[in-house]
Symmetry: D2
Subunit: 164 residues, 4 copies
């Protein structure tokens, strides 16, 4: 079976506390994702860590890099871990440039390093959906929903994604 | 949208340490599942806690109770949290008695109360798959795989589920 | 027995992640300290939460407030949870203004909400020392040491307190 | 400065879940204690792991082994991690055989691997007390108290140690 391509682009999902600087940082590794995938011995995947940014700092060159990575992969199912603030922008960008593949974006409101549950829940919900879907398109999976990307948005007052 | 029926039947997934008795016990509540569902504000579900057993103690009367609960529910998508030791037996029993519905069984090798990650991962992978599937049948979802129930088994030496 | 006075002044020890703002904040409560004291059913204490600041923002008015709180308390044993960056400054200030009492300052390099172990370790080490000491003075207890305050300093390169 | 001798004898403090057997086991390592000591870079100690038993299985030969280890050590301050069920028996045994040293026994009602806070709290409270005490004798430190060993007992209904 063709491997699922898992792309790590950074975001809150990955942040870790740096005690020397007293700040949360997006690390250059994928430790959080790997901690979850440790429990997925049956999933055939390729994990690529291509960006390490808070999504507020992500620009169209970064989005083109994500799109190019997807286009040139042999995988037809792609899971992207992304910051929540511009997940919608990246999804719209990918919708213009990626056809004939199923892409699901997910992320977290709280870093895996602070509370493992929400990040694990979102990631694995997306991975489960990706396993069984036969559709193409750009989707967002967050907080117990998966939908075509324009149908889920971040409610900044509540701190959760909701259908729209 | 019709709610997903989530059935808690006990098992390692739910176990908690009782400091007075010095033992892990299957509690009579669904705290572990509720802790995960706290992050699923978009999922429309009904949670029913119908059994509180280590799955080695589960008998056919228990399985008939599970089957009856599914048959009499209006839901067509069912997620069952179950002990890993007899998950296969319950699945075979349900395959004989439940038609026209999609049932996914999941569980954990390590209690949610000891390590949240594996239990959350299995549960949410199953929930994500259940959201998008359009198939009927009895499935097992464990350790990054979802398959028709007879195609995943518990490898007791390794402590993981594998395809067979 | 006279209660131990526990003063919460904020600092990294107490910080929690605010998912709406995407930042760690010093909360206005003492939840972290109370989580630890939950396991101290035999300790007779008074907990007062008097400041909620990152210690870099603490000024001499704040320090005078701490000193005044200690001076006017009937307790002769005081434990202060304080940010690590200016713990030494507050200790020197207290050394000038507090006599005839035993004051131990402690804190953490990593918030209790991110990793419970270091914060719990420092707090309980200080509390254990405070229970048995019969000395007066201003002490710092961090990372497995208790010493007269001028004999422990924060090594900012290593992220630990060391003897000097 | 003479190192503190830390003796690991097993007990609930150290227990870990074995997913292959579905049980909590007393491991043959001192990982829990080492995880705490990781935050004690200033403490000069020797850690010896001499028994790996649930304290209900401990016998007088085991207690003689503990006493002998203490007698033949050059350290005069000893911290013992011990199961809670027979901590009092071991303390009485040591009171007969160990003179001229300060011995503090501690443990936990909940394994460090399940909840780090109580185990860390008891251990570090004991360590802090041991740093500053100048007394000899056999003490128990649990749940925010340190007392001569016959003055603290395990209340089995409440699951905490109390003064008597």
């Amino acid at each position: 079976m063709e491997p699922i391509l898992i792309l790590n682009t950074g975001g809150t999902f990955n942040k870790r506390y740096n005690p020397l600087r007293g700040e949360l940082e997006v690390p250059k590794d994928s430790n959080a994702i790997e901690s979850i995938l440790h429990h997925c011995s049956n999933t055939h995947y390729t994990l690529r860590s291509i960006l390490h940014k808070d999504s507020l700092e992500m620009n169209d060159a970064d989005r083109a890099h994500i799109a190019h990575t997807i286009q040139t992969s042999t995988s037809h199912k792609i899971l992207i871990v992304h910051g929540t603030d511009t997940m919608d922008q990246t999804a719209r960008f990918l919708a213009l440039h990626v056809k004939e593949k199923c892409v699901i974006l997910t992320g977290a409101m709280v870093p895996f390093s602070i509370d493992t549950t929400e990040a694990t829940a979102n990631f694995m919900f997306a991975l489960g959906a990706l396993h069984v879907t036969e559709k193409k398109g750009i989707y967002i999976a967050m907080h117990g929903a998966i939908a075509e990307h324009s149908h889920l948005y971040k409610n900044r007052e509540k701190g959760i994604f909701e259908r729209c």
